[in-house]
């Protein structure tokens, strides 16, 4: 796998993702102003000092955007890592054990998947207290169902191959079979799925924040920024479009990289169903 083999679209994606992470890590040093500093008039237009202008409370949009990268990425990445781990562990166990364990886990997963993610999230968030941990866990658990479905399909594909049976005949234990026989053969589709889940998490978090149920003010996350500034649209103020574009740009970058990974995979089960 040489660097030359990566197509230009994937490079664009990789660079975009790296840029977002740099903003997230080095926000206090990169951002020209503070996250909550009020610097001027409400919705002041863009000028030399404020590249994107000021928001609905007079704060610098660019700075809030940079700090927002931190929250968005941290929550989205955290939720994705948890959902992925949970989904893979459960689905691989089901695929290797078959029988009752597989039946129970899969039926339960089907049940959880029969409610669209957003609706389920709304219902659950109506009950739970509003804080970051709850948000991450809710996103993670709901999304793990999609990971479960893909993981099980991919693991089963490999589990029925004869070399897995050969390992069983040797007397190998379940852990060996999962980690040394099945997992290495499923890396490509799993990596692509991780990317897809990450893109979905970014969009989902932004949507929740936009609806007022995600990150609470005054912390800045991109979805929340759209919500704060949306009333200006009717007056021709484009402030809300800036964070929206940022969300879109990041999601595009992740999807470009995922597309490239998918092309390298021979088969991907489960399609790209994201509801």
């Amino acid at each position: 796998m040489r660097l030359r083999d990566i197509p230009i679209t994937a490079w664009i994606g990789i660079i975009g993702i790296i840029a977002a992470f740099i903003c997230a890590f080095f926000a206090p040093w990169i951002a020209p102003f503070g996250e909550t500093d009020v610097l001027g008039d409400v919705w002041a237009p863009a000028d030399a000092q404020h590249v994107f202008g000021l928001d609905n409370l007079g704060r610098d949009i660019l700075s809030r955007l940079i700090y927002g990268a931190r929250t968005t990425l941290f929550v989205a990445l955290g939720a994705t890592v948890i959902s992925f781990s949970l989904g893979i562990i459960l689905s691989f166990t089901a695929a290797v054990s078959r029988g009752a364990i597989d039946l129970v886990l899969s039926r339960f997963n089907d049940l959880m998947m029969s409610i669209p993610t957003l609706i389920f999230a709304l219902v659950v968030l109506a009950v739970l207290p509003q804080n970051l941990i709850v948000l991450i866990l809710v996103m993670a658990i709901l999304d793990s169902t999609r990971v479960y479905r893909l993981g099980r399909a991919v693991a089963l594909d490999v589990a029925v191959m004869e070399f897995v049976e050969a390992a069983k005949l040797r007397g190998e234990g379940k852990l060996w079979i999962i980690f040394r026989e099945i997992l290495p053969n499923t890396l490509s589709p799993l990596l692509a799925e991780f990317g897809l889940r990450f893109a979905f998490a970014i969009l989902f978090l932004s949507t929740l924040s936009f609806l007022g149920l995600g990150i609470q003010p005054p912390a800045a996350d991109w979805g929340g920024m759209v919500k704060d500034n949306k009333d200006g649209i009717i007056f021709g103020i484009s402030a809300a479009l800036v964070p929206g574009a940022a969300i879109a740009a990041l999601a595009v970058c992740v999807n470009l990289v995922v597309d490239w990974l998918l092309k390298r995979t021979s088969s991907l089960k489960g399609g790209r169903g994201d509801a």
Binding site: E162, F163, A166, L169, R170, N185
Partner: protein, 542 residues
């Protein structure tokens, strides 16, 4: 006699994409020429990769996958098919030249009835009105021996058996009265007893209709029954070309001779077959809804080979699963070295597992593609004996030598090995455990005849050196003659015959064994006619 088909200096190339390297141009067919007269059959024979299918498809000016015809001419009645444009070649395909695929099951559209698909080309090429096409299809169904020919056309592909589909595909090719049919390994995927019926049906049909044919196969015995001439191919080049009789009875080239003589040797069976390393007694096994094995009893003495013969559905592979513990027996016992084995895999100790090893039919899927030869052969060494580091590497090298492969292979991945090499590595993996009994589940069925020969010789040699016992599962009687001491014949889950080879393979026979033995093509001209005269066609079932 004027030539119907004249192929001159045919050259076919493709682009291959080896992993980790830039794409390469490879030559699949390199300057092949031959002629075919009206009403004659030319057999194209060769091992896999010889280019025979590719040549067959070139008669329709078609390249499958990335294959491109880059040079030469394909003249049908004097007209170069390769020079025709899209519209021109479309008129030829399905009307003057037709194709019968290897897997009829995949080649038919599952959404339409068979009859419709059989007459489609004839009607669409305006060769005959629909009613006439239907009548012709009915006639062909009869000639090909299909059951209930009047209603056969109303069925869907998934409702009929593999042998019937293959015949339906032949009917589809014959329906438009073509001048030439290309048969691409039409009986390879079928059972032996079905194969002979389909073969006879095809031969009868093309004789009746005076159609010329290209018959592609890797089985020399089959092609000897049906062709007038034979062309032997290897690596895209012509090796030898002559009449069927000349090729079979007096081959010129060394390669051809090797193909003709494959598995001529027969083994002397062991005299004393009373002892038993493994004993199977009254085993019945199956799944909750149906039984696969009923009351099977047999045994294997130490250092000898038991061949289990049967067709698909006979239960032979299931027996292997019962012996290894993957499928617990419902009744009966399996005794190894005097002690009964726990029925399920879970209950067996590592020692019990170590002493019985299994070799699979498809070496591709039997080894983890992400592991090197070192990992594959080394794991049993570590798992059973705790070997590591230098000691392990030394033992792996020893094993590689025993399977006649050098230590340079130790860090290769399975994808970098040929079919025969992969199977050898699988054998080394089995040997690494130092077993006493090896179950071989059709280990050579997926290999070319010459490569298979090599594997069988290797297994025989290893048996002599290490006093191994083998249970060899196969559907190929020739292999049985070559390597077995005792033979068990299975049919639909029951043991039909069991005993020393000489006794089982000599008359008097029961009906099934009789049928089985008579169905195996011999490498003799005229064998098919002789057998058909003494054997009734079982067209209804197959």
């Amino acid at each position: 006699m004027p030539e119907l088909l004249s192929v001159r200096d045919l050259k076919i190339e493709a682009t291959s994409y080896p992993p980790g390297e830039p794409p390469r141009r490879v030559t699949i067919v390199d300057g092949v020429s031959f002629d075919l007269q009206k009403g004659k059959v030319l057999g194209l024979i060769g091992e896999s990769g010889a280019g025979k299918s590719t040549i067959g498809l070139s008669a329709l000016a078609y390249g499958r996958g990335g294959a491109e015809i880059t040079g030469g001419e394909v003249l049908l009645d004097g007209q170069n098919l390769l020079a025709l444009g899209k519209g021109g070649i479309r008129k030829v395909r399905g009307a003057r030249v037709c194709y019968v695929a290897q897997s009829a099951a995949a080649a038919f559209n599952p959404a339409h009835r068979l009859g419709e698909q059989v007459i489609e080309a004839s009607v669409k090429h305006s060769l005959m009105p629909k009613e006439e096409a239907r009548k012709r299809a009915l006639y062909l169904f009869r000639v090909l021996g299909l059951p209930n020919p009047e209603t056969f056309g109303e069925r869907y592909p998934h409702q009929v058996s593999g042998g019937q589909l293959q015949r339906a595909m032949t009917a589809m090719a014959l329906c438009s009265n073509p001048e030439l049919i290309v048969f691409d390994e039409p009986t390879t995927a079928l059972d032996v007893t079905t194969q002979i019926d389909v073969l006879a049906a095809i031969k009868h049909a093309i004789e009746e209709t005076h159609t010329a044919a290209l018959y592609i196969t890797h089985d020399l015995a089959v092609v000897a029954q049906i062709s007038d001439d034979i062309m032997v191919l290897r690596h895209g080049k012509k090796v030898e070309y002559g009449t069927a009789r000349q090729i079979i009875e007096a081959p010129n080239e060394a390669y051809t001779r090797a193909l003709v003589n494959v598995r001529q040797d027969k083994r002397e069976e062991a005299a004393d077959q009373t002892g038993a390393l493994l004993r199977v007694e009254n085993v019945t096994a199956g799944y909750s809804s149906f039984k696969v094995l009923s009351d099977v009893s047999l045994h294997v003495p130490k250092g000898q080979t038991l061949a289990i013969v049967g067709e698909s559905g006979s239960g032979k592979s299931t027996l292997a699963r019962v012996i290894t513990g993957l499928l617990p027996a419902q009744q009966g016992t399996v005794t190894f070295d005097g002690k009964p084995l726990p029925r399920a895999l879970k209950g067996r100790s590592n020692e019990e597992l170590r002493r019985i090893q299994l070799i699979y039919q498809m070496a591709d899927t039997a080894m983890n593609p992400r592991q090197t030869v070192r990992d594959i052969i080394g794991r049993p060494l570590t798992f059973y004996y705790g070997l590591r580091g230098a000691a392990k590497t030394a033992r792996i090298t020893e094993l590689l030598e025993q399977i006649e492969m050098g230590k340079g292979f130790i860090d290769r991945y399975p994808a970098e090995l040929s079919g025969g090499q992969k199977q050898r590595v699988a054998i080394a993996r089995a040997l690494a455990a130092d077993p006493e009994l090896i179950l071989c589940d059709e280990p050579t069925s997926a290999l070319d005849p010459l490569v298979a020969e090599g594997i069988l010789k290797l297994l025989t040699r290893l048996q002599q050196e290490k006093q191994l016992s083998y249970i060899f599962i196969t559907h190929d009687i020739a292999i049985v003659r070559a390597i077995a001491d005792s033979v068990a014949v299975m049919h639909r889950g029951r043991l039909v015959r069991f005993g020393p080879k000489s006794r089982v393979l000599s008359p008097p026979f029961d009906d099934y064994t009789d049928l089985l033995l008579k169905s195996v093509p011999e490498m003799e001209i005229g064998w098919l006619e002789r057998v058909l005269a003494t054997r009734k066609m079982e067209s209804a079932g197959n």
